[in-house]
């Protein structure tokens, strides 16, 4: 694998995949511990109507209206779920199911009704993403990394995901103590005067930002997988939150790299001509990692005594 081939074709998608995976896995750790793991699933479904509405309003496929539409839809969904849960006194899983399926149905309907056939905006694209198409046209080799002219043509998804990852990491660091305390003992957090409500909402909003930013580049399925699988696998490895986060970042990175390589080169190794979906393969690899952790992780059982530390 030489630089003149790797840098233009694979470097950008691979890095984008890693950034997406880590940006989703970081808030995912807290969501899994708080039993809100399916928030990522709900958000990635409701993003569709948001994007379609943004397209119908502006009439163009451009980044910012789409991102705003997606973020708006995610916020509407979170509020609607909470509203249904409280007004109807319905348990949160069912409330979530009602809201996100209805919003997704609305999105599909709008999509079919509006004339979007000539635009690159369809449901399959939303599900699969287009990680493979993030080609860095002007790159010629490793030297391009230091060439300002070539750097200017890097696919915009890469810097966008880098900024998102930075933001998510910053949030996690700044709110580390309150997040940790309120996740493990919400009652205690409240008695020491912590505002657990806004903090929980903040976490969900950060998760939504990560999901929406990732959605455009890599599709929804990898987003859901990265919210849950790396943190869940990490949870089997340790009882300490700090270590769990580190493991989840490692697993997410591993899934992104291995999944991308397997999707691109795996079929060639077994004698097939074309590559397969990178997003799907990254999700699959993260599942294999989770499966191995569930079979062999030192802390896989509930309440099992920790081995001598």
């Amino acid at each position: 694998m030489n630089g003149s081939e790797f840098v233009p074709l694979s470097l950008v998608p691979m890095l984008t995949g890693i950034f997406v995976a880590v940006a989703c896995a970081l808030p995912g750790n807290f969501l899994v511990l708080r039993r809100q793991a399916l928030i990522g699933d709900a958000i990635s479904h409701v993003v569709l109507p948001g994007i379609v509405v943004a397209f119908l309003l502006t009439g163009v496929v451009s980044t910012w209206p789409m991102l705003l539409g997606a973020a708006g839809a995610a916020l509407v969904a979170v509020l609607a779920i909470e509203g249904v849960r409280r007004l109807g006194k319905i348990e949160s899983g069912a409330a979530m199911g009602v809201v996100f399926t209805a919003m997704f149905a609305g999105g599909v309907l709008l999509l079919e009704q509006s004339d979007t056939s000539n635009v690159h905006l369809d449901v399959e694209h939303a599900l699969y993403g287009n990680l493979e198409s993030l080609i860095w046209l002007d790159a010629t080799g490793w030297a391009s990394l230091f060439d300002p002219e070539a750097l200017a043509t890097v696919p915009v998804e890469l810097p966008r995901m880098a900024v998102t990852l930075l933001f998510v990491a910053l949030f996690t660091t700044l709110f580390w103590r309150p997040l940790k305390i309120s996740t493990f003992d919400e009652g205690f957090a409240r008695t020491i005067g912590m505002k657990t409500g806004p903090l929980g909402l903040g976490l969900v909003i950060v998760a939504a930002i990560a999901a929406v930013a990732a959605f455009d580049a890599v599709g929804s399925i990898i987003v859901i997988a990265m919210f849950i699988c790396p943190p869940a696998a990490a949870r089997m490895m340790t009882n300490r939150l700090e270590h769990q986060i580190a493991w989840s970042v490692l697993f997410a990175t591993l899934a992104a790299i291995l999944g991308y390589v397997l999707a691109g080169y795996g079929p060639l190794w077994i004698g097939m001509r074309d590559s397969v979906s990178a997003a799907g393969m990254i999700a699959t690899v993260s599942g294999v990692v989770l499966g191995l952790a569930a079979l062999m992780g030192p802390h896989r059982q509930r309440g099992a005594a920790a081995p001598a530390a």
Partner: protein, 401 residues
């Protein structure tokens, strides 16, 4: 056109599809109720996503054996097998590892779906052009449905519905009171398994009509809606089945009448409209009733406090209280009590004094627990008891009106 669709006059095929969808809606509504009552609504999400790799694998296997790969029964069989595998993995992860059920559901659905998409891209390169229709399983489509497909779906949905009705007693018991079920010798885990099997069957049958993402809606929305209308499990099951059937019937008919309305989303949105109406309007649990009940309670509290204030001769500053007293004719605009108001205030004070006494007397413990500051004492104590209480008040020389 829409009227003709609703009265099944759009021809044989449209009628078959509408009836098939209606049966499916009923089966989903009934089956989903038990899932909802067992607080496992989102398990259906995992089941439905887990069908995708099975559909793709079945297609590949059928092509490998020389078929054209689009045999519906074969595809549904593949879907059922991989959904069952996903279901087993969810229960293994949530029972045998420390993962909570929601994390187990989320990981299984995303990984199976990712694998399914990988397989779909393999199929795309494998036999270009021949996989047309396979993607319909993602979002559902009745446009290309053949008569045979519609018949298979209708029959399977009817069988599922019959099975649910046959098993409704153990299912009801297991969702409503699993401990009692175990105590009287029912095998609750096996009933749970049967319930999951039913949901799986509904999901697989519904794939072709509404698609694997939206079938979840048919399993969740009708039961949640039905729960607003009844407190009895068997009624919730029936209402949910009826709601699912109505949503599917109207949705399928609308979609048959208008060629550019996709069936799955329309059915789901009709179901959601029924849900929204119920959330607002249902008696008992509806939001509007709850609001009215709250308002009524608030008014009673304010009125009572206002009357007590009048009896003590205290000035009233609270606007709502003042307005209520005036509306009832108990007070003048300046807050001075009318004759009727003085009478009511005295009674309120007397009742309050009676309550104070019985709440301190262990002999009246049961009655005293009914105290909430609003309940008229006559509804709790007999006339004799009240006389006895009053005699004590007189002995202490307390205030009497």
């Amino acid at each position: 056109m829409i009227w003709e669709a609703l009265t099944l006059q759009l021809g044989y095929n449209a009628t078959l599809v509408t009836l098939g969808a209606t049966l499916l809606g009923m089966a989903a509504g009934v089956g989903g109720t038990f899932l909802f009552l067992r607080k496992r609504a989102l398990v259906s999400d995992a089941i439905s996503h887990a069908t995708l790799p099975g559909v793709a694998l079945a297609f590949m296997v059928m092509v490998a054996f020389g078929g054209d790969g689009r045999n519906l029964i074969g595809l549904l069989l593949g879907a059922a097998l991989s959904a069952a595998a996903g279901l087993l993995l969810v229960s293994w992860l949530s029972n045998r590892t420390r993962l909570a059920e929601d994390a187990a559901i989320g990981s299984v659905l995303s990984v199976f779906f990712g694998l399914g998409i990988v397989l779909l891209t393999v199929i795309q390169t494998m036999s270009a052009g021949r996989q047309a229709g396979l993607e319909d399983f993602l979002l559902g489509s009745t446009a290309g449905m053949l008569r045979n497909d519609a018949l298979i779906i209708a029959v399977a949905a009817a069988l599922t519905l019959a099975l649910v009705l046959l098993l409704r007693r153990p299912l009801t018991l297991a969702s409503f009171d699993p401990e009692y079920g175990t105590a009287i010798g029912q095998n609750v885990p096996r009933t749970d398994l049967a319930m999951m099997g039913l949901v799986l069957a509904v999901t697989v049958v519904g794939l072709k009509i509404v698609g694997l993402i939206l079938i979840v809606a048919l399993l969740i929305i009708p039961p949640v809606t039905a729960r607003f209308w009844s407190e009895r499990t068997d009624h919730v099951v029936l209402i949910s089945g009826a709601l699912g059937g109505i949503a599917a019937y109207i949705g399928a008919a609308l979609s048959a009448a208008q060629p550019n309305l996709p069936t799955g989303p329309i059915i789901v949105l009709v179901g959601f409209a029924l849900f929204a109406l119920s959330l607002l309007l249902a008696p008992g649990r509806g939001a509007l009733t709850a609001l009215l009940r709250h308002r009524r309670y608030q008014r009673r509290v304010h009125l009572r406090q206002g009357l007590l204030a009048l009896a003590h001769g205290q000035p009233i500053y609270e606007q709502l209280t003042l307005r209520l007293l005036r509306a009832e004719g108990y007070a003048l605009p300046d807050g001075v009590a009318t004759k009727a108001g003085r009478g009511r205030a005295a009674k309120a004070l007397r009742d309050e004094t009676r309550w104070q006494l019985i709440r301190r007397d262990p002999a009246y413990e049961a009655a005293a627990q009914q105290y909430d500051g609003l309940t008229p004492i006559e509804t709790v104590l007999t006339a004799d008891q009240i006389r006895e209480i009053d005699s004590r008040i007189d002995m202490r020389g307390g205030v009497m009106a």
